[in-house]
């Protein structure tokens, strides 16, 4: 049983660590702010949550696990809110990506006025 838990948490740690590194690599490699948001999304979701799950498996059914659960829940809810706030602030400051394949933002603005 102990071995099984160790293997499970090893799995979550390595996968989470891998996603963290790939996400951070994306923050450096991707060409503009708008694509980098998605790399940050990787860090905030799978990266952080899998690491937390790995830690939860390490501590078993204790108060520590409950705290980790709270941290996980908070990152799960506040993470995307912060990401959206950054994207929204950049958008309303007139920051726009180059080379859009499709752009509905004009239609969106019209729909809001109507």
């Amino acid at each position: 049983m102990n071995l099984f838990i160790d293997i499970a948490s090893w799995f979550f740690f390595s996968l989470g660590g891998l996603v963290l590194i790939v996400g951070a690599l994306g923050m450096v490699r991707l060409p503009d702010f708008w694509s980098r948001i998605h790399a940050a999304g990787m860090i905030d979701t799978i990266g952080a949550e899998f690491m937390l799950v790995g830690m939860m498996l390490q501590s078993g059914l204790t108060l520590t696990t409950l705290k980790l659960l709270l941290i996980g829940l908070f990152i799960f809810i506040a993470g995307p809110t912060a990401t959206h706030a950054i994207a929204n602030a950049a958008w309303s400051a007139g920051e726009k990506p180059q080379g859009l394949a499709r752009d509905d933002s004009a239609r969106f603005a019209e729909g809001e006025k109507a």
């Binding site: 602030a89 309303s92 400051a93 007139g94 920051e95």
Partner: protein
């Protein structure tokens, strides 16, 4: 293992400090100093100074970044080029740093059980805090019970300072400057 963590965090800290010194865009400097505080707080955790890390996270990472941005609204975006050379300040910093490092040589090793701080009144407080105050955390017991009036005065000072800063920034920003952005 913890030594490696300390060293890596410290290397990041130095890297951030160099970047802050070299950047001229003040918004970037404000953001990076927030990052610097996060790193410093992580370092405090690694050094087992949990309560200091708490304070650093709250004050350094949160409040002071926002106050710095508030001050930035009253200032130009770019830092001015210094009119004098960097040599004299550099020498001054190096000398001060060397003196401080020289001073630490006399200090007992980090976490050493023979250090005066561990042998003087420390054990007394550790033994008596729980039965005397009923507070499970010794740091809290000392802060809020043994020196409760001192802490009350301290928090009052910080509260008044925060209110005054907010008032200064709030009043001068009230002159109808609307939306901005980079």
């Amino acid at each position: 293992m913890m030594i490696a963590v300390d060293l890596i965090l410290f290397a990041f800290l130095i890297l951030t400090a160099i970047a802050i010194a070299r950047l001229r865009n003040l918004f970037a400097v404000a953001m990076l100093s927030g990052l610097f505080s996060l790193l410093a707080a992580g370092l405090f955790v690694a050094l087992d100074a949990v309560d200091v890390a708490f304070t650093e996270a709250a004050v350094g990472g949160g409040v002071s970044t926002i106050f710095m941005l508030g001050a930035l609204a009253l200032m130009p975006r770019e830092e001015k080029r210094p009119v004098h050379g960097a040599l004299l300040p550099l020498v001054l910093c190096l000398v001060t740093g060397a003196a401080l490092v020289y001073g630490t040589i006399d200090m007992p090793a980090f976490g050493s059980p023979d250090a005066p701080v561990q042998r003087h009144v420390g054990p007394e407080y550790l033994a008596r805090a729980l039965p005397e105050t009923g507070v499970p955390n010794v740091v809290t017991a000392v802060l809020a019970s043994y020196r409760g009036y001192d802490t009350l005065g301290e928090t009052t000072v910080i509260f008044v300072a925060a209110i005054s800063v907010l008032m200064i920034l709030g009043i001068s920003l009230g002159s109808g400057r609307q939306k901005g952005g980079e």
